[in-house]
């Protein structure tokens, strides 16, 4: 079934290419001093080649995107991602509208990491309304389902976001958000259960799968059982943005997240930075995050962003280990500092960018006490195919 899904994605992409309104190609080259983001830093380079195309008809838009990534030192981690979907805008009046999208994704690693291959589907609905000319209300709902090759990671998740902002004539914007989420892993726990079936002298054996271990008068069966695990989180966040002149923007943001119920079902998973990691997503932690960002429009229309983020996260259900792999009896807790710099220049038909990120992650699990540098340069080329309108 997974192969069928992939085939459908490929057919859809080819079909859309023939009809597309716009098509773009992009290439980026990335270098890092710490690929796996752990104490034992390993250098590598990664090349990404992507295409994007879309087709508009009526109020629908069809889109597809494919990315192939190749690692120079760890070529067994090369992967391909294929996305495809459609979206629709439904206006209510001149101040309000709904947005809906349905999308599918296939993620395919080379054989060594094939357990992380997945097919996923997503439904997204958004409502946006101008309560006044200076104030916006937003409601977003997202439903995600992921079906991994190793079904232990399969999950479904729901997210609901309510956002409200207000702009003041002092060029200040205040924004507040509340975000709720629920994620359910279908079968993270697998265990064997012994089933006893009482028999009488005239009938032997039993029903069900498994192997018989008992003898009369009872039959014992071992049956593999799975158990699900849900995690529920909620977060509050605030943002203050200030325009400084007409070409400079400054923003500060803060977010606090709590786990309302459940915990991470996976005790420990190696944190490959690019492999889907159920222990380090939005649902896995509680704590806070503070951020700041300066946006500048420089001469020659170069756009520059400078950011600094600090976060403290605790991961309920994940225990810290020492470097020999012994339990320390404490829950893993990380404190991270991150600096981001990005410059982008848009030309009539293409755009180029360069970025640098430095991360320093302190953790009570020494394996995750690390720092790393990440560089990237890239180019994106747009090729119009449709009407100029």
């Amino acid at each position: 079934m997974r192969k069928l899904g992939f085939l459908i994605l490929i057919l859809l992409t080819v079909h859309m290419t023939l009809l597309a309104d716009s098509f773009s190609l992009s290439f980026s080259q990335n270098m890092t001093s710490n690929l796996f983001q752990n104490r034992f830093a390993e250098r590598d380079q990664l090349s990404n080649l992507s295409f994007y195309l879309d087709k508009n008809f009526s109020r629908f838009s069809l889109f597809a995107e494919g990315t192939y990534s190749y690692l120079f030192e760890n070529s067994n981690l090369a992967y391909y991602i294929q996305d495809a979907g459609l979206d629709y805008i439904l206006p209510i009046d001149e101040k309000s509208a709904f947005y809906f999208s349905v999308a599918g994704r296939g993620m395919f690693y080379r054989s060594e990491y094939a357990d992380f291959n997945y097919m996923s589907s997503n439904f997204f609905a958004a409502f946006k309304s101008y309560l006044s000319q200076t104030s916006i209300l937003k409601l977003n709902y997202s439903l995600d389902y992921k079906n991994y090759r190793d079904s232990v990671f399969d999950f479904i998740s729901h997210s609901l976001l309510v956002s409200f902002d207000k702009y003041f004539q002092s060029k200040t914007t205040l924004k507040g958000e509340i975000d709720w989420g629920y994620k359910y892993f279908y079968s993270p726990y697998i265990y064997d259960e012994v089933i006893t079936i009482e028999t009488d002298n005239n009938s032997m054996g039993g029903k069900g799968k498994g192997s018989a271990h008992g003898s009369e008068p009872n039959v014992y069966l071992i049956e593999s059982k799975t158990e699900g695990q849900g995690i529920q989180v909620i977060s509050l966040s605030g943002l203050i943005a200030q325009g400084l002149g007409n070409k400079i923007g400054l923003r500060f943001s803060g977010m606090r997240q709590w786990v309302l119920s459940g915990q991470n079902p996976f005790f420990f998973i190696e944190e490959f930075y690019m492999v889907e990691n159920p222990t380090y997503d939005r649902f896995s932690w509680e704590g806070y995050q503070l951020g700041s960002q300066l946006t500048l429009l420089l001469p020659w229309n170069i756009q520059m962003k400078l950011g600094y983020t600090v976060s403290q996260k605790e991961f309920p259900g994940i225990k810290s280990l020492d470097l020999e792999g012994n339990l320390l009896g404490i829950t893993r807790k990380d404190k991270r500092n991150q600096i981001d710099v990005r410059a982008e220049k848009n030309f009539p038909r293409f755009s180029v960018f360069a970025s640098y990120i430095y991360v320093h992650n302190r953790s009570n699990d020494l394996y995750f006490d690390w720092s790393g540098h990440f560089f990237a340069v890239g180019i994106e080329w747009n090729i119009p195919l449709g009407a100029r309108q």
Binding site: G5, I8, L9, L11, L12, H15, M16, L19, D21, S24, S28, N30, N48, S50, Y52, D54, K55, N56, S58, R59, S61, L62, F63, G85, I89, P91, K95, A97, A103, G104, S120, A126, Q133, T134, Y145, N147, D154, Y167, K171, T173, G243, N246, K247, I248, G249, Y273, M274, L297, Q303, E344, R349, F353, S355, I357, A376, E380, P384, A387, R388, Q389
Partner: protein
Amino acid sequence: MKQKTNVILGMILLLASLPSFGQKTENFYNVDQEIYIEGKIQNIVMEPRYKENSPFLIITLEEKDTKKLFTVEISPVEFFDQDFHKGEFLIVTGSLTSSGETGNNIIAREVQSKGETFILRDKHGFPTWRGGKGQMSRKGKRKGTRF
């Protein structure tokens, strides 16, 4: 659930096979009429512009020096991508499609606001906005990598 995934993907394929509707060209981007204006936002609405297509985000801009009002056509998806407010300062490069008594209308190619540049069309006026952008916080342009 595995089958549901494939059913959804199948539906996407089916919709992709529907005949496409041609875009109307009552109002088109003329590169010879390109202008550059700076000003403050006076009004923001979603408004139909092209038959059968999604309504566009339309901004009324008061030009900084002359105080003239311009109606600026942005794009359909930008209504969800960008949070513009009345009073914010914008720099717009676009094609002037009408002026004078019929109103000053501009099809925007590039918008600058709060230190950021949004490219809406290429230099020939072909749209560069993308589907799926209503989910910018999750999808967006995947420039660079997932470091």
